[in-house]
């Protein structure tokens, strides 16, 4: 097996002429959970869409490559892609209300989905899986229809469907963001449990650093279409390097009940097109040079990358 299950190399993505994501580099090892965090519009969902490679979503790969298990999957034909989606790459979207048919029972929809990927639906297997995931009343669940379920339960059924096909890599795009805190915690624990049992890799997209800190091994922080910091979760959270990462952490209300510190302004929409630093207009430590300095993700410490270390206080 290749060392990296998924490898993203110099990836630049666009919608039409408009660049969304530039020069993203990272990799996911087998059995690893990688979180990509960032605020809305930073390009984190676009990244997932590109890995899925579903053409009509409009994401175009301008440059770079996506390598899954040693095989370049950047430009696959529709048929080739059908072979790997579901079975090698699983996907849990944010809005599972929209991805299930609301008025057909789960077992019919499970069966259909598996048929599309040339697999057989085994009811017993599904129930076994649900039991392992501590779903309440697994025998009855499959006969239910999505509208009868709560948002949390529906989300878990979507995870169940993705898991049944035993993919090696699971992509979860804000999979817990619509849930209440109690069901969010449950779903996260289930995902982590699956990782431990099946040795999966999960690429987890979230805007919630609290969620990331509970599940991830590695954390990437994105801002305006660029990865500004990447590394082991403990290193990034305990000793953040990039000014944006620090500002982001300061804005999260913590256990100490202190008022969080906000950040004026908003990210540029065309940030991916800029030559200089995209965070410069909002940055406390900006200098004239920031406007022209080209983006580059440097390895500041072993296994800890950042594109800027201005104003960093070493702990």
């Amino acid at each position: 097996m290749a060392e990296n299950l998924l490898e993203i190399k110099d990836l630049t993505l666009s919608y039409g002429e408009f660049k969304i994501v530039t020069d993203v580099n990272f990799s996911v090892k087998p059995g690893e959970i990688v979180c990509i965090a960032g605020e809305s519009g930073c390009g984190k969902s676009t990244l997932i869409k590109a890995i899925l490679g579903i053409k009509h979503l409009g994401t175009q790969v301008v440059n770079g490559s996506i390598i899954l298990n040693g095989r370049d999957i950047t430009n696959l034909s529709v048929e080739e892609r059908r072979q790997i989606l579901g079975t090698e790459i699983g996907y849990v979207p944010q809005n599972t209300r929209g991805s299930f048919n609301n008025i057909r029972s789960y077992d019919i929809q499970y069966k259909e989905t598996l048929q599309c990927h040339n697999q057989k639906f085994d009811r017993g297997e599904a129930i076994k899986l649900f039991k392992r995931l501590n779903f309440p009343d697994p025998e009855r669940l499959l006969g239910h229809q999505p509208w009868e379920m709560s948002g949390g339960m529906n989300q878990r059924m979507a995870i169940g469907l993705a898991v049944l096909q035993e993919p090696k890599l699971m992509l979860a795009d804000e999979a817990t963001s619509v849930l209440d805190v109690t069901s969010q915690k449950q779903v996260i624990e289930e995902l982590a449990q699956l990782r431990d049992e099946l040795g999966w890799s999960i690429l987890f997209i979230t805007h919630n650093l609290g969620v990331a800190s509970h599940i991830a091994d590695k954390l990437g922080v994105m801002y305006a279409g660029r990865m500004v910091e990447y590394g082991d979760i403990r290193k990034v959270l305990d000793d953040p390097i990039h000014p944006y990462t620090r500002a982001l952490l300061a804005a999260i209300p913590g256990k100490d009940r202190k008022l969080p510190v906000g950040l004026e302004g908003r990210p540029p929409l065309d940030g991916a097109e800029w030559t200089g630093c995209t965070f410069e207009p909002r940055c406390k430590h900006r200098t004239e040079a920031c406007k022209t300095r080209a983006y580059c993700l440097k390895e500041v410490e072993p296994g800890h990358f950042a594109s800027c270390s201005e104003g960093r206080v070493k702990q």
């Binding site: 650093l209 999260i252 906000g262 004026e264």
Partner: protein, 253 residues
């Protein structure tokens, strides 16, 4: 200042549907709120926290119980009778502004309706917009030309421009990024400090509420199961549900 609390909610209940299909969504809600106090209401989706705000602001009639404002009962009044006292701010403020009006025009409508003297409207709008940390030129833009956080701050400014006694905030930061959320919390905190603003702050995020509320009420299934200061709630939770909720909050480790 009168001795009576600014707001009293006494044995309030709300039910929807008729006869045998009747479903109670709020049961036996009791609390008082003094002037200058900020009450956070926490609960998961569907627990009735938004309905409670609708009842207090008379957007919906109560099924049972009484509401008092400064000791005077106002149960059964129309929204236009109470909007001088309460201004409500919702999660999606872009939808709450008229898309064809500039922010300033929308705010003037409020003033025309509620202020006795609207001659110095522009000055009052500029002052309020300034208090929310925004440039007054931004008020001449249309809602879609502002970011989510800016629109939300404009909505708060619009609520406050008519000097209501109380602000009712319904999940106002839930749709925003954390950095924009933190900005709003800072400005609300500042408003509290300077003007002694009374507020009910409905949210599903316990961490957000604990940063600036005087008291927090925990709701579950249409009831207030626990109410207390952030210290009492977070450090010495009494009810099982509160404990469950506290356990589920994922802080950044």
């Amino acid at each position: 200042m009168s001795e009576a609390p600014l707001l009293e909610v006494r044995n309030v209940a709300k039910a929807y549907g008729k006869k045998n299909k009747r479903k109670e969504v709020l049961t036996d809600i009791n609390f008082t709120l003094n002037e200058g106090e900020v009450l956070g209401i926490i609960g998961e989706s569907g627990c009735g926290k938004s309905v409670l705000l609708n009842l207090i602001s008379c957007l919906e009639p109560v099924s049972d119980g009484q509401l008092f404002f400064k000791g005077q009962e106002y149960t059964g009044k129309k929204p236009k009778d109470v909007c001088r006292w309460f201004q409500v701010i919702f999660q999606d403020s872009e939808a709450a502004f008229d898309p064809k009006m500039t922010i300033r025009q929308s705010m003037k409508e409020n003033l025309k309706l509620l202020a006795s003297d609207a001659s110095d409207a522009d000055r009052r709008i500029d002052e309020m917009v300034g208090m929310m940390g925004l440039a007054s030129e931004l008020a001449d833009r249309y809602p879609r030309q502002l970011s989510g956080g800016q629109v939300q701050r404009m909505a708060i400014a619009r609520g406050l421009v008519t000097s209501p006694n109380m602000l009712l905030c319904d999940e106002i930061t839930s749709a925003l990024d954390v950095s924009a959320q933190a900005m709003i919390l800072q400005y609300l905190y500042e408003l509290r400090r300077q003007r002694g603003l009374t507020m009910i702050f409905v949210s599903h995020d316990l961490a957000v509420c604990s940063t600036f509320c005087d008291r927090i009420a925990i709701m579950q299934g249409g009831r207030i199961v626990e109410i207390g200061t952030p210290e009492q709630i977070m450090d010495h939770p009494q009810h099982d549900y509160t404990k469950l909720l506290l356990d589920a909050v994922l802080y950044v480790k």
